[in-house]
């Protein structure tokens, strides 16, 4: 916009003043100063930074998973509510437990048209594989929500509380199986956390997706899981699974979930593990560019669609940004690292 103004001004001024040659140099300077002022004012008055081309929305996970569903849910909300002049194009880069996506964003230094949605593999992938990457290599934008974890067992088992179950597990260390998604990722870390806190030993069996893990539990191929609420809710309602305890300080705020006790209520041990659903940008971007995405994401979380979505999926609404987000990330990274170290999951 302001570029054309600038060019137009220069031309007209040049035409007028070109007659008096003596003052040409000075005049040109003045003209330049004028146009510069125009440029500055036009920046000031024009809207803040906006994307000039379609935004690549990277998912460091495969199609069909939790992060994928969320990104593909956010992208249409942005266009439906006209939050961005250019569309958000969703792209999966899932290789190496997301390492491909992270390395890609890390390499896009200064490019304001790339954002990435992350889950806990932001911390676990580099720690487990030794890929040269850290979340500080990207620019934090916002935390959108947190995902709960619940300890599930098959409904036909006699256990009523986590203590009942852990007491059985203690009798035969390493015999009871804990099914989970992937190796050296959040489910295995939670297993380590439970083992530490309750002095038990599980036999952790990794599978490819959260939905599949829940079904292995329904089919009694594993003894327990720590599925996210959305992955197991349908089997619970059908009477095939039962939740023993929620891994957070307070109960879930949604109607159907209020009956699930927290670990503290059930066992006296206040254990919490929540998974990040957040947004990052490439490194080296300008503050005004960050502000744009923060603003977009904030507006997304305020839409009625998002509210319904978080309730359906059992996500904890937890929008934070800026320094608060960074502090949280630092604490989360430390926690993850310690748990992985004690579970011997570090590379």
């Amino acid at each position: 916009m302001y570029v054309t103004v600038e060019v137009g001004n220069k031309k007209s001024h040049m035409g007028v003043y070109s007659m008096s040659k003596r003052f040409t140099g000075l005049k040109i300077l003045m003209v330049l100063a004028c146009s510069l002022a125009l440029v500055i004012t036009s920046i000031g008055t024009a809207k803040a930074w906006e994307p000039k081309m379609p935004v690549e929305f990277i998912i460091p996970a495969g199609a069909g998973g939790g992060a994928d569903v969320m990104a593909r849910f956010i992208a249409p909300i942005i266009s439906k509510h006209k939050l961005s002049p250019k569309p958000f194009v969703v792209i999966n880069k899932s290789a190496g437990a997301g390492a491909e996506g992270f390395m890609y964003v890390k390499g896009q230094k200064g490019n304001p048209h790339v954002i990435i949605i992350t889950l806990d593999n932001l911390f676990t992938t580099p720690l487990a594989t030794g890929v040269p990457f850290n979340w500080r290599d990207m620019t934090p934008v916002a935390r959108l929500a947190l995902d709960y974890f619940i300890l599930w067992v098959n409904a036909e088992t006699p256990y009523k509380t986590p203590n009942d179950y852990f007491a059985e597990v203690k009798k035969t260390p390493g015999k009871f199986t804990m099914g989970g998604t992937g190796a050296k990722q959040e489910d295995q870390i939670i297993t380590v956390l439970l083992e530490q806190q309750f002095g038990v030993k599980f036999n952790y069996v990794p599978f490819k997706g959260g939905g599949a893990v829940a079904v292995e539990l329904v089919g009694k191929h594993v003894d327990s899981t720590v599925n996210n609420p959305a992955e197991a809710v349908s089997h619970w309602k059908a009477g095939r699974l039962k939740p023993l305890a929620l891994l957070d300080h307070e109960r879930m705020p949604f109607a159907g979930w209020k009956d699930v006790p927290t670990m503290k209520e059930a066992t006296g041990k206040d254990i919490s593990y929540l998974m990040l659903r957040g947004i990052f940008m490439a490194p080296g971007v300008k503050q005004e560019e960050i502000d744009f995405y923060v603003n977009v994401m904030k507006k997304v979380t305020e839409t009625p669609e998002w509210k319904k979505y978080t309730e359906d999926m059992g996500l904890k609404p937890a929008f934070i940004t800026g320094a608060e987000y960074v502090t949280w990330l630092e604490a989360k990274e430390k926690e993850t690292k310690e748990l992985m170290a004690s579970g011997k999951l570090l590379k």
Binding site: G64, K80, E100, A238
Partner: protein, 505 residues
């Protein structure tokens, strides 16, 4: 049952509403395009269109997504048959006999055979979905890692007869396929295998990229070397050819029923369509009277794998709807779409959203029937592609393959891999390394290995778990018998010959 019939009728009438019908039509045409273009599979196609469906009513949205899927199932075999380039993993088996038949100048016949078999596979799948979903989902629940491993073994044993002349080279080819499959991150331990610190290798070798190169480009090199051009082979298709194609499918009823059953059974477990098509092909060959025709354009070699592929693709909807486990990558994405609509798949979906589920089932009937009509209507156009001059079609094929290889993972490196695989496809074919076992190992290797190791983890290292009754044991026994069947049947034949020579003489 009566209640199901009633619900089904309601569902079909929902699917037949003009708006939904139109949406299904659009979805099918898009799906066929998605299926034809290699690399742009049903999963991509559906994932990309999910944002569009958010503005639609849920039932229309799901009809659109499902129709893309049916279309891509139909469309996947078209390039397999015409150019030896499988558009989807489960249409690899269609190249084995479909391409030779097209090469002999009968692309229309091959296409019609494939499409009609697809339809019959779908019919059985949809019948299962409509009437037996709850019972069958109980059965599917009993499949743990050990049972899946047994199924994989059965698939491999069904394929044992498909090696080349040189047994050593066949083994090398299989091993290479498995090795390629193990590049990247190990599911069970999270360790990076055979990556040598390279981010590019971390993603492993995608099956589609390998197959486009090995089969597609390799075949182009072979063709140009022999001076033959892929042109002028496509005859015109008349209405008569379509009816005779339908009749021919009925003539191959054994292969058809085999394919339908194998497909619908295999589709119940994740990743079932590809092994189903291979397994059906292997069984059809072993059970066929004209074994020597296989690989040279045998009609039953097209019918069995195609019916199985579509059957498995259809029955994959069953565990998705009833259990929330997607039976195929595309189903995984459709499931994501359902969640966006606020419908959580699983046992409660039938109860809480019956209208929606039955609308979906109704659209399965309508979508697959419409799909058959659409692809049959397009068949003459597809077949006539082969009449275009080679100098025009060749660069376009390479171009489309490059797009396909890129679109699988949005990676440029995959296009380079494709060219390298092409050179190896040519060398392997020339030097008698059979490609089919290599490809089978590549596509199933990861799944088989994970299942084996998960089973052993659960059992605490005891291999007995692999032979656990009641499901794994019979499957493993069947696998072993079928593995040795060629030698057993030879032995039996010899004895019979001895007896008959001793007997009356």
């Amino acid at each position: 049952m009566a209640e199901n019939m009633h619900n089904l009728w309601l569902g079909i009438s929902v699917a037949m509403q003009p708006y939904n019908f139109l949406v299904a039509m659009i979805g099918l045409v898009l799906g066929v395009i998605v299926g034809v273009l290699p690399g742009l599979g049903g999963a991509n196609g559906v994932a990309i269109l999910i944002p569009l469906t958010v503005a639609m009513p849920p039932i229309a949205g799901i009809i659109l997504l499902a129709s893309i899927y049916w279309g891509s199932l139909y469309g996947g075999s078209i390039t397999s048959i015409l150019f030896n380039i499988p558009g989807e993993p489960w249409s690899v088996a269609a190249t084995f006999d479909g391409y030779p038949m097209a090469n002999k100048g009968e692309p229309g016949r091959a296409l019609v055979l494939a499409f009609v078999s697809h339809f019959f596979g779908a019919v059985l799948g949809v019948i299962m979905l409509s009437f037996f979903a709850p019972i069958i989902s109980e059965f599917a629940l009993r499949f743990g890692p050990a049972e899946i491993f047994a199924v994989m073994m059965l698939t491999f044993s069904a394929f044992v007869g498909l090696g080349g002349k040189d047994a050593v080279k066949t083994c090398v080819s299989i091993f290479l396929g498995f090795l390629l499959a193990s590049v990247g991150m190990d599911t069970v331990t999270g360790a990076l295998r055979l990556t040598y610190g390279s981010i590019n290798l971390m993603g492993g070798f995608n099956f589609i990229v390998a197959v486009i190169g090995l089969f597609g480009l390799g075949e182009i090199f072979l063709t140009v070397e022999e001076g033959l051009k892929i042109e002028g082979k496509g005859g015109k298709i008349h209405l008569k050819d379509i009816t005779s194609g339908v009749l021919e499918v009925f003539k191959e009823y054994k292969a058809l029923i085999l394919g339908m059953l194998v497909g619908c059974w295999m589709g119940l477990k994740p990743g079932g369509a590809t092994p189903a098509s291979f397994m059906a092909y292997g069984f059809a060959k072993q059970g066929s009277k004209n074994k020597e025709m296989f690989g040279k354009g045998a009609p039953d070699g097209i019918v069995a794998p195609e019916a199985a592929a579509h059957g498995a693709g259809t029955s994959a909807a069953l565990p998705m709807i009833t259990l929330g486990i997607p039976g195929s990558p595309t189903m995984a994405v459709i499931m994501g779409g359902l969640m966006i609509f606020g419908l959580v798949p699983g046992p409660m979906l039938f109860k809480e959203h019956a209208d929606f589920v039955w609308g979906f089932i109704g659209s399965c009937w309508i979508g697959n029937t419409l799909g058959l009509i659409v692809v049959l209507a397009f068949a003459p156009i597809f077949a006539s592609i082969l009449q275009v001059r080679f100098a025009i079609i060749m660069p376009i094929i390479v171009y489309v393959c490059a797009i396909g290889a890129y679109a699988v993972n949005n990676r440029l490196i995959d296009i380079y891999y494709m060219i390298i695989f092409g050179v190896f496809g040519y060398l392997f074919k020339k030097l008698d390394y059979p490609l089919a076992p290599c490809v089978l190992a590549l596509v199933l290797g990861d799944m088989a290995e994970s299942a084996l190791r998960q089973a052993l983890l659960i059992s605490g290292g005891s291999p007995l778990v692999l032979f656990a009754p009641p499901i794994a044991l019979p499957l493993m026994i069947a696998a072993i018998i079928i593995f040795f069947w060629p030698s057993i049947s030879e032995f039996l034949a010899k004895r019979k010959a001895q007896k008959s020579s001793v007997g009356p003489g």
